[in-house]
Amino acid sequence: MQIKETAKEYDAIIVGSGAGGGMATKILSEAGLKVALIEAGPYFDPKDPVTMTQMKWPYDSPRRGASVTRAFGEYDMSWGDWKVDGEPYTQKEGTDFMWWRSRMLGGRTNHWGRISLRFGPDDFKRRDIDGLGDNWPISYDDIKPYYDKLDKMVGVFGSKENRRNDPDGFFLPAPKPRLHELYYIKGAKKAGVDVIPSRLSILTKKLNNDRGVCFYCSQCNRSCKEYADFSSSSVFVIPAVNGGGQVDLYVNSMVRSVTTNDEGKATGVSFINKEDRKEYQLKGRSVVLGASACSSARILLNSKSKQHPNGLGNSTDNVGRYLHDSTGAGRSYFIPDLMNRKTYNEDGVGGLHVYSPWWLDNKKLNFPRGYHIEVWGGMGMPSYGFGFGATEMNKYVQGQVGGYGDKLRKDVKQFYGAMIGMAGRGESIAMRDNRCTIDPNVVDQFGIPVLQFNYKWQDYERYQAKHMIETFDEIGHAMGAIPLGEKPGKDKDWGLLKPGQIIHEVGTTRMGNDPKNSVTNKYSQLHDCDNVFVVDAGPFTSQADKNCTWTIMALSMRTSEYIVEQYKKKNI
C-alpha cells in the first residue's frame, strides 16, 4: 500500500483535541508554532443546531432520551462511550476494565461533569505519607502557577475555604444550593462530614467577551451553545483554528503510530483517514500525544521500530502500566419530608452545587486514600425511565404499592423530587500490574492492533467503598432519608464500581525522575525520545481523590510552555 505523505513539516503535531490536546493547541499556536491537530472523530461545535441537544424536550425524540445509542442517554454529548463501533478492546481473563472514548472534536470535555478540583500538596507526595505507589517528580508549588492561570483562562466557580489539601484558586462565585442540597448540608454537618460549595468549570459570571454566562439549564453534559461551560472544542480548539492560521485541523483521522528516524527521534505520525481508509503521514518536529491515557499508550506501543523495538518510550516496559481509575460507589435515598413539593424551576447549573471534599485522616482508617462525595437530586426534567417503579416508595409511608388511575397520578406527583443520591469518588492505588498491553491477536477496523486490559481492585479500594456506603447511610439518616435498595455487602465489594466506570483513567505513561520506573520526565517528555510529549492523563503518577481534568490542563499548559522554550532554544 502506498502511503501518502505531505511535504510540509509542522513544528508540532498534536494528537487528540480534548482537555490536554486542546490546551496544547492553544498555547503552541499562540506562541507562533505551526501546529497540526489530529482528531479521530468528526468536527463538533456545541452551537451547531444540527447536532445540538441542549434545550431539547424529551418529546422531541421518539425514544424520550433513552440510552439506546449513547450510554448516558441520547442527549448526552459524547459520540462514543464504553463501546465504539469497529474499535474493540479485550480483557485478560477474569478482569473487566471499561474504556470510554469520545470520538469528536473536544473529546470527552463536551459532556464531562465540569468538576474542577486542584490536586493538593499531599496528592503529589502520597508515598511519603503512606508508603504506597510513588511520589510525583513535581510538587504542588511547581504546578500552582499553572492552576492559577488556568482558573482565569477557562473559569471555575467555587469558594475560598482555606483547606490545606484542597487549595483555593481564582474562583467565580458559587450558585446557591438547591433544596435537596440544603438537606444534604444539614445531614452532613450532623454526621461530622465537611461540605462546601462545589467547584465546577461553569461561568456563573462573565469571564471574557468570547463566552456567554450560565443561563441555568442544568444541561452541561449536552455541551453549551453559549460556551458558558468548559469544552475543549468551544473554548480552545475552535478559536485556535479560526484565529491566526497557525493550526491545521485534521478530523476523522485515526493515528496509528509515531514515526521515527534512524536516530530514534520522532519525525511525525502515521494515521488512517476514516473516509477513504488509506494511510497518511504527517511530518513534525515534535509530537504531542493527547489522545487519552490509554489511546496514547496504545499509539506508543504500536510505534515499534529498530530503534524502539518494544514500542516508543517503552525501553523499560512501563508504557501501559500503573493504569488507575477513580473508585466509585453510590446510593439513593428517599426523603419523606420532600414529598408533595411545591414545584418551581430549580434546574441550576449542570451538576452539584455542593460537595464534600475528603475530611478524614487515613492514618486512623483501614484504607490508605480518601474520596469526595457528590450529591444529586431535585425536580429534574423527566426522560425515559421516569415513572418506573413510581409507586415503590409507598411502602415507606404506609401507602399501597402499585395501582392505576388517579391514585397513580397522585403517587407520581407526591414522590417527584423526593429522591437524593450520594456518590463517592476516591483515589485508588496505582499498581504495576494493572495495565493495558497490545493484544497480539486482535485489530480494529483500521487494522490497528487493539488494547488488552488487565485490572484488578485491591482491598485498599474495597475498604474505601465500604466506608463510603456506611458514611452515605449516616448522612442519609441524619437528614431523615430512607435508603433505597439493599445495602451492598462484602460479596459485592460494597458497591465498588468496575475500573473504568468513573472515566478517570490515568497513569499509563507516568512521570518520574528515574527512567527505569517511569515513561516521561517531569515535563511529560518521553525519557526515550525527547521530541515526544504526553499531555493527557497518562503522565499522572497518582490520581488523588479529585477529578483529573483540571490537572490534565494545568500540566498540559506547563508542558506546552516547556515545548515553546525548547523550540526557541532550537532543542526541537
Binding site: V50, D60, T69, L408
Partner: protein, 240 residues
C-alpha cells in the same frame, strides 16, 4: 476524488467549512448538502448524528406490534392514566405511539410485551370467554385489580405473570406520558428555559425548615453582577 484532495478536505480550516465531520471528505467546498442531516429529516431536530438518523429511520419503518396488540395497549393506557379534569389521558398524550416505537428501539421489551398481552387475552377468555378489548369496563377492571398490585403476588401466585406484565405496562405508560408536553404540564415540571437561579423561594425554605447560612450565602453569586467581567486581586478575592 483524488487522494490529494482528500488530504485537503480532511484538513479543516474554518468553522464554515465543517458542519458535521463525518460528512466531510466528499466535497472540497465542505458544504455537503447532499449528506447533511437537515435534508434527510424534516421533523424537529434532536441532535442525531448520521448513523443514528439511519437507525431511527430503519426502526420507524419496521412494524412489530400488530393492530390488535396496539388496540389492547390503548385500552390499558387509559385505564392506567385516564383523563382528569385538568389533564388529558395517556391516549391524548399519544402514549401508544411511544410504546409502539420503544419496543422496536429497545427489543428487550418485545417478548414480555407480546407475551403479556397474550396472557391478558387468555385470562379474559378464561373468565369471560372474550378478548380483553371486548370486555365491559367492569370486567376489564376486575382483571386489572388482580394484577395491579405487586404485593398480591404471594396471595395470588397464579397472577404473578400478569402482575409482571402490568408493571411493565405501567412503567412505559408513565414514562410516555410524563415525557410528553401534556405530562410535563401535569407534573408541574418548571424548567428547560433560560433563567437566573437565585436560590430556593423563601416560602419553600420556611415550609421545609431549612435556611441559607449567611456565611455560605456570602460565597454565592450576586446575580446583579453576573454580566460584569470577573477580576480578582492577587489573593483570589473577586473584585467585580
Amino acid at each position: 476524488m483524488k487522494r490529494r484532495d482528500t488530504l485537503k478536505t480532511l484538513l479543516v480550516g474554518t468553522v464554515g467549512g465543517a458542519t458535521l465531520g463525518s460528512t466531510i471528505g466528499c466535497k472540497t467546498d465542505g458544504t455537503d448538502s447532499a449528506t447533511s442531516p437537515t435534508t434527510v429529516i424534516d421533523e424537529v431536530l434532536y441532535g442525531r448524528i448520521p448513523k443514528e438518523i439511519e437507525r431511527d429511520q430503519k426502526i420507524k419503518a419496521e412494524i412489530y406490534l400488530n393492530e390488535h396488540e396496539l388496540t389492547t395497549i390503548a385500552v390499558l393506557c387509559d385505564i392506567i392514566l385516564p383523563a382528569t379534569e385538568d389533564a388529558g389521558s395517556a391516549n391524548d398524550a399519544k402514549v401508544p405511539e411511544f410504546i409502539d416505537f420503544i419496543v422496536k428501539d429497545i427489543p428487550s421489551h418485545q417478548l414480555p410485551m407480546r407475551g403479556g398481552l397474550m396472557w391478558l387475552d387468555t385470562e379474559s377468555n378464561r373468565r369471560f370467554n372474550k378478548e380483553f378489548v371486548n370486555l365491559s369496563n367492569a370486567e376489564q377492571i376486575q382483571i386489572i385489580d388482580d394484577i395491579a398490585y405487586p404485593n398480591d403476588k404471594n396471595e395470588k401466585p397464579e397472577m404473578s405473570q400478569g402482575i409482571n406484565f402490568f408493571n411493565r405496562m405501567r412503567n412505559l405508560t408513565l414514562t410516555g406520558y410524563y415525557t410528553s408536553r401534556m405530562g410535563l404540564d401535569d407534573l408541574g415540571y418548571d424548567g428547560n428555559y433560560a433563567n437566573v437561579w437565585d436560590g430556593v423561594p423563601a416560602e419553600v425554605l420556611a415550609e421545609h425548615d431549612v435556611d441559607y447560612d449567611p456565611e455560605w450565602l456570602a460565597k454565592c453569586v450576586d446575580q446583579s453582577k453576573r454580566l460584569d467581567i470577573a477580576e480578582w486581586d492577587d489573593d483570589g478575592n473577586l473584585l467585580t
